[in-house]
């Protein structure tokens, strides 16, 4: 690692990048605070108007955003919790337990990462139609409850953070595997579990293709399904559409505001080892 001190030009260019990254989001809020007539005029608005409250409430009720937000919290929360627990268990087994076929199985896990989920979407739809799960939340929770990336991420973390002697000492004391997981693995893995949980939450929140197929706008939509409904002209008012987009993004921005540094750390950590 090398760290040269940054000059003014560096700060200027980074400032441009920051502006470019944040501007579309800020402008979403600006457009959401205007009305559709103002948005159909040049030059486009650069500052907030007084319509934000009205647009948010229309989006909340007419576009089903209230239900959608609640549903998405449930879905993303369950998926994140499931992924974290299952990934930690499997990651621990791959990192510190010896069993026949472990190398092959780990290679399989990594291999599944390269299979794009879109390829399975047709039979998956037939499956949930068969089970009468269409438009029910388990249809989007169960297929994404485990993640190969998560298993690999936890394995890499535990292989380095969990001393083998610690596990062996617990074994010597006669602790069962479950006790070891509860009293040794979980405490050590906690930071990585938190990062994986946040990354998974963000991914599940933004999952798009499958929810569009499995859920409907008027039944039990996730945020992405409700926003697609808005894009389909469900509410033909651009400022309301922007208010919906704002509602659907704000919770995640909040997570970012609170845990941004940890999420950045998690992505960088996953990158070096991946």
């Amino acid at each position: 690692m090398r760290a040269l001190r940054a000059g003014r030009l560096t700060y200027a260019v980074l400032g441009v990048f920051t502006l470019g990254s944040l501007f579309p989001l800020v402008w979403t809020a600006i457009a959401a605070s205007r009305n559709s007539t103002r948005l159909a005029r040049t030059p486009p608005p650069f500052w907030f108007g007084g319509n934000l409250g009205r647009n948010l409430s229309v989006a909340w009720t007419d576009a089903n955003m209230g239900t959608a937000l609640l549903n998405t919290v449930i879905v993303a929360g369950t998926v994140a919790a499931g992924t974290v627990v299952f990934s930690t268990l499997a990651g621990f087994a791959f990192a510190r337990l010896r069993f026949r076929g472990s190398r092959v199985l780990l290679a399989l896990v990594v291999g599944t990462m390269l299979i794009p989920p879109q390829l399975s979407v047709v039979p998956l739809y037939m499956l949930i139609a068969e089970l009468s799960w269409t438009d029910r939340l388990q249809a989007v929770v169960l297929p994404t409850l485990v993640s190969a990336f998560g298993v690999f991420f936890m394995r890499q973390y535990l292989a380095q953070a969990l001393p083998a002697e610690l596990v062996e000492a617990a074994r010597t004391d006669g602790a069962s595997s479950l006790r070891i997981v509860w009293h040794v693995v979980f405490p050590v893995a906690r930071p990585a579990m938190a990062v994986l949980g946040m990354l998974t939450f963000v991914m599940a929140w933004n999952d798009f293709f499958w929810p569009i197929v499995a859920l409907t706008q008027n039944g039990s939509p996730t945020v992405q399904v409700a926003l697609t409904g808005l894009g389909r002209g469900y509410v033909p008012d651009q400022s309301v559409i922007m208010a919906g987009a704002l509602l659907g993004t704000l919770p995640l921005l909040l997570v970012f505001l609170l845990f941004g540094r940890q999420i950045v750390g998690g992505i960088m950590q996953g990158a070096v080892k991946g």
Binding site: M1, R2, A3, R5, A6, T10, L14, F17, T18, G20, S21, P24, L25, W27, A31, L39, R41, P44, L89, A90, F99, S102, L114, I115, P116, L119, S120, V122, M126, L142, P143, V146, A148, E168, R171, T172, G174, S177, V181, W205, N206, F208, I212, V213, Q224, L227, T228, G231, R232, M242, A245, L246, G248, T249, F256, V264, I267, M268, A271, V272
Partner: protein, 327 residues
Amino acid sequence: MTDETAVLSPSPARTARKGEGEGRRQVWRSRRYRWDVRFGPYAFVAPFFLFFAAFGLFPLLYTGWAALHQVELTDPDSMTWVGLKNFTRLWDDEFFWNALRNTVTIGLLSTVPQLLIALGLAHLLNYRLRGSAFFRVAVLTPYATSVAAATLVFVLLFGRDYGMVNWALSGLGFGPVDWQNGPLASQVAVSTIVVWRWTGYNALIYLAAMQAVPAELYESAELDGASRWRQFLHVTVPSLRPTIFFTCVVSTIGATQLFGEPLLFNGGAAATGGSDHQFQTLGLYLYEQGWVNLHLGRASAIAWAMFLILLLIAGAARLLRGRGEAR
């Protein structure tokens, strides 16, 4: 495996000293212990493989089976065997080839600038910065924005009559661009959304790799009188080669899957990818065939075609990589 037998089986003397019942309990306990050691690991990895088998592997294989049938969305239970008809149909389908071309163009237009900009951005973030945490979180924010929210905003920004992009262009003296209907313009616009969402993410991955480059490499390059730019080209980039390869793979897979952006960039979010299919991607075409035209068999055939294309790309990448390493 060595510790388990040594530590766990109770010594014979001890068992004998205790009563019969106690001994049996000991035997039972040690047997349970051995089971735990032998099968525990499988129990821990089982949830992943069970869920993957049910919701990943089975559907993937079944896609191949469904592709050989005529299946309608309205009645998924009745399947009629049609052999390779879905595939031959696809071969003669101009919309399929159109979608394939668009996927390649949009893939290049989004992946190449995205990774190049990310590399430069990572280089800047690697300087000793005041407020480096702020910059890192800021450039990652688009990653937290969903495809839907981002696309809906960009639709307005790229509006032909009142959009901010055209307003800015007219200030520079360029005529209004029809970002919706122009074939190339619409693909540039769709690619812009992808670039906006993923550049910061890739920059952080490059940054992590840059921080792992040993400082001595730069010091010796400095001694040789290499300029900053030459150091970047001859030290940073070669050290990052595995990471660059990794991001190329991930972005390529992402590009072949592109769906949300072209769906929502279209007015009314119809799955056609524009009035003239000018930005319809393979993912979008799959969706249109399956869930708009209700032909699940044809949709499966498209899915398998996409899979084959990915395999071809992977094969080509392997060849290229092998040659690069041989040199």
